[in-house]
Amino acid sequence: MNNPSAIVFDIARCSLHDGPGIRTTVFLKGCPLDCFWCHNPESKSYQPITTTDPKTGTTKLIGHSMTVAEVMAIVEKDMDYYAKSEGGLTISGGEPMTHPIFVKALAKSAKEKGIHVAIETSGMAPWPHFELVMPYIDLFLYDYKDSHGDRLRANTKGDLKQIEENCQRLLDLGQAVTRRCLIIPGINDSEAHLSAICALSLKHKPCYQAVDILLYHNLGQAKATNLGIPSTINNLRNLDNKKDIHRITQIIQGYPHKSIFLKGKLI
């Protein structure tokens, strides 16, 4: 297929937090995981969905099929900003690694235009998918959701073993990887998980870039409510506050670690 398509549920231009510089983030629909805290609950299913705002009754179709060329037409609009800021394209989801053919074609097309390509992944995809896209990806933004396999499976349906094996293979093959660790209150904000993150930061080499600690923000719940999607989030509190930041920083500083960032600052 020369111009494959995928179900895209959003394209966020001028995205400042999905990799280096100023970027355009393309969100592909569908994810094999089922994290109950998901901040994009509308992205889980692989098909377009129609949502109804419970307040106004307004309906909205989320997700539509787009070809690589159509996506690139939008991505290319901010070329000047990428060039100035060393930014580029980030492919996100859902889980983009479950759309390997589309991702490969999109990433290849971007690389041909000289655009830096990053991909946001949970790592929950068969290894051959990674092999397929790898030549066209400059940076993997690779989740580290939990250090505890059973808990990960219970909360997300994810397979820690597969995820970590994929990651290690990427690193072994010299792929640039930044680990992204979302800290969720009551789930993985424990000393045990934070210390595991520290250990991970020392283990990864040689192309490991950094660990970004991301703090849970209660965005998904409000989003689910507005879209009329049943929410699985049970009133988790936001972690983006001085007290929790201080606590998390303190724990991390108690263990040997390397290149761990929290809110853009090196811990």
Partner: protein, 768 residues
């Protein structure tokens, strides 16, 4: 000053005006002014470091328009009694020409029971309600043009055109005044007259004598004040005033004092390139150790307060940075202190404006971003690399003069000390579309406001391009009326006034021996304020998609539905929904942006060409907006972009609030698509959360530099504020007395804005 004294001065002015029609107009003007000045000058307030405050009486002579200045929605009458808004006594934005602000006089009658005073006020009201220059001009114009199209009452936002007789935005070149001093300047005028006797120049000498008289007045007043109590800060003022009677200003303080005092008498409320004007004085005083940086900073802060308290909110520009400065190194000393003064004072004026070019170092740009990040709303950022060459073409001036461009007021460009560029007309593009599709009847209230035009039946359009051509033809008709007003109002002003004092510092009045509007000014230009421009773009695009591309509804169905405001009640009307779903300007979308570029080119070229024909050096579009977008929106019916009747129109050149959904880069790409070579100032607002602006500063800087360097962005004004803070401030104004916001063409304390303007600002897209 008590009421009787005020009335006495106004009566003296009025009788002088009545008895001097035989005098040459320049001489008559100074003679009339001398009945008020220097008596209306008041002594400095406690912390003032300069003199020049004066009481602006409702009757007098001036340049500007006292009612405007981003006027509040608060009723004018109320504004008189509460002293809110632009009509505050002691505010010097007076004019135009010989004015008698009847509403203010009426307000005065509510402050006394004294029958004699009331009778005297009534006599003033009777005279000025007929003889006020703007009133007379509007009357004359109405007799020659269809009056259904415009209104002389600028608070009546019903017709598609607003007319304002004024000579707004003059920014003087103070060089001659500072180099020669008052004494030398008078000698210079005498020498000119020796060769060619000339009423205008002779009046100029009288005007300078009035400045000197004002200085004497202050010296006497300050001496008396000193006698009644020891006020040490008066000493430097007296020293400067005495020096100014002897010769040219020697110090930074002398120069600033002369500039402020002269500007008050001249009626000028925008100060131009102060860094260029004052840089060498500052550099000299700092290098000789006469003053410290802290002393200079305190002087500038005092100057800032005086500007803030002496002119209405749509004025008070001070320009720093940029190409074409005589001594950039010295000027940059002023730039740094000006930015610091803005950070430390946090007041709505001056409207500090940073022109960016290679002679303005990165460190000053960073300091500017710090000021913005702290919620100052200033400085506004202007891109010389684009603006200078563009303005050379737009205004048809040499590059050297284009380098002297300055934005004034709400963002109109003018050539500092070399050109006029008053916006004497405003047009509402959205309303013009509604009139075009309703055969001249305004769907807002059913009144005919179409002028003399052969309207077509909307049913007759066979294609979108047919409709667009029709809209353009009606637009041309309306815009041609604005060209006529611009020119005729200048001519009318010229028949009444010479504008002597401001004119002396404008090229080439002395060389030509003529007042500004009689052929003296180098560039006899004007501008037209566009409103509802974005809504017209979105409206045309929505009609194109809904009626012609997708055939969801007929044009007739749209017109009917809009005329009943989408039936108002109930859930979103299907027509409104269809219109809302169409492409919107501000998202970097090719179709709607192409339409926007077409409309921009058409309208700008039309007035530019017609303006030239009318004899103006240039007549250009500005898309600046104070809060007239909100005020005009209140009187504009539902529009074809899905906007409901009474909702604000989009501010400046921005997307309509909340409709830019593709992020900052897309918005900036859209707004920078308009060709800058055919307009004289389009302004862009960008609202950012403090979190974004301050924590992602490096990335934002890259966005800004891409916008300026690669996209050809001309201008940016950044509002850094929390959405939650705005909502809180609306609920609990008492807790946020100093929260500054950028409305569009002016900044203001949020809590002092009317509710509708507050809502418009809250609804703007906030990038977080």
């Amino acid at each position: 000053m008590h009421l009787e004294k005020r009335i006495e001065i106004m009566e003296h002015f009025t009788t002088t005006y009545q008895t001097t029609p035989h005098l040459p107009k320049a001489v008559r003007e100074i003679t009339c002014m001398a009945t008020q000045f220097p008596d209306v000058f008041v002594l400095p307030k406690e912390k003032d470091r300069f003199v020049g405050r004066f009481i602006m009486l409702p009757v007098g002579h001036g340049l500007e328009w006292a009612h405007l200045g981003g006027g509040d929605l608060i009723e004018d009458r109320k504004a008189q009694t509460t002293h809110k808004g632009a009509s505050i006594p002691e505010m010097n934005s007076a004019g135009p020409s010989y004015y008698g602000h009847v509403d203010q006089l009426i307000a005065m009658t509510t402050t006394t029971d004294n029958k004699d005073l009331l009778k005297r006020l009534k006599a003033l009201i009777d005279f000025w309600s007929v003889n006020d220059t703007h009133t007379q001009m509007a009357k004359q114009f109405s007799s020659e043009h269809d009056p259904s199209l415009f209104d002389a009452d600028i608070n009546n936002f019903l017709p598609p055109i607003l007319i304002l007789t004024r000579l707004s935005g003059i920014e003087m070149d103070y060089t001659l005044l500072l180099e020669k001093g008052l004494v030398g300047f008078k000698d210079h005028l005498s020498a000119l007259m020796a060769d060619h006797p000339n009423d205008y120049i002779s009046a100029g000498a009288k005007g300078l004598a009035l400045v000197e008289k004002s200085i004497h007045h202050y010296i006497e007043g300050l001496k008396l004040k000193k006698d009644t109590g020891n006020k040490p800060q008066l000493e430097p003022i007296v020293t400067s005033l005495l020096a100014l009677l002897q010769g040219p200003p020697q110090t930074f303080h002398d120069a600033l004092q002369l500039i402020f005092l002269y500007s008050q008498l001249a009626g000028v409320v925008n100060y131009g390139r102060m860094d260029d004007t004052l840089g060498s004085f500052l550099e000299k005083d700092l290098s000789t150790g006469l003053i410290s940086e802290q002393d200079a900073l305190e002087d500038i802060k005092s100057f800032w307060h005086l500007i803030n308290e002496s002119c209405n909110r749509g004025n008070g520009r001070v320009i720093i940075g940029g190409a074409g400065r005589k001594n950039p190194q010295a000027a940059n000393l002023f730039v740094k202190l000006a930015l610091q003064a803005t950070i430390e004072t946090k007041i709505p004026k001056p409207q500090l404006t940073l022109r960016m070019d290679p002679s303005t170092p990165e460190s000053l740009y960073d300091l500017a971003l710090d000021a913005i990040g702290q919620g100052c709303t200033f400085p506004m950022l202007y891109n010389d690399a684009v603006n200078v060459p563009a303005l050379a073409k737009a205004m048809d001036v040499p590059l050297k003069d284009a380098q002297q461009y300055v934005p004034y007021g709400c963002g109109e460009y003018i050539i500092n000390g070399r050109g006029t560029g008053s916006p004497n007309v405003c047009v509402n593009f959205t309303k013009i579309l509604q009139l075009a599709l309703n055969k001249g009847y305004d769907p807002f209230d059913g009144t005919y406001r179409g002028g003399e035009f052969d309207f077509l039946d909307p049913l007759s359009f066979t294609s979108y391009s047919h409709l667009e051509r029709y809209y353009y033809s009606y637009l041309d008709y309306v815009l041609s009326t604005t060209v006529a007003y611009q020119h005729e109002s200048y001519q009318y002003l010229a028949s009444k006034s010479a504008f002597v004092l401001p004119g002396l510092l404008m090229h080439d009045t002395l060389k030509r021996g003529k007042p500004m509007l009689d052929g003296g000014i180098r560039y006899y230009s004007g501008v037209n304020e566009f409103y509802g421009f974005t809504n017209a773009i979105d409206s045309l695009q929505a009609i194109k998609e809904v009626v012609y591309d997708h055939k969801q509804f007929t044009l007739n169905e749209l017109v009917q539905s809009l005329n009943t405001n989408f039936d108002e009640k109930g859930p979103l009307h299907p027509i409104q929904k269809a219109l809302s779903n169409a492409q919107k300007f501000g998202n970097d979308l090719d179709d709607v942006d192409a339409l926007a570029i077409r409309l921009h080119e058409h309208a700008c070229e039309h007035i530019r060409t017609e303006g030239k024909k009318a004899g103006l050096h240039s007549f250009l579009a500005v898309n600046i907006n104070n809060n007239a977008n909100t005020r005009w929106g209140l009187k504009t019916g539902a529009s074809y972009d899905g906007r409901v009747s009474g909702e604000h129109l989009a501010p400046g050149n921005n997307p309509h609030s909340g409709r830019d959904e593709n992020g900052i880069t897309a918005m900036l790409n859209s707004v920078s698509k308009f060709r800058p070579e055919i307009h004289a100032g389009y302004v862009q607002n960008l609202k950012c959360s403090p979190d974004l602006f301050n924590n992602e500063r490096a990335k934002l800087k890259m966005i800004f530099s891409t916008y300026f360097d690669q996209q050809g962005g001309t201008q940016l004004m950044v509002n850094v504020m929390d959405q939650s803070t705005l909502l809180e401030a609306k609920k609990h104004p008492e807790k946020y007395p100093n929260l500054l916001v950028r409305c569009g063409g002016f900044s203001a304390r949020f809590v002092e804005l009317d509710e509708k303007t507050q809502t418009e600002i809250i609804e703007r897209t906030c990038n977080a």
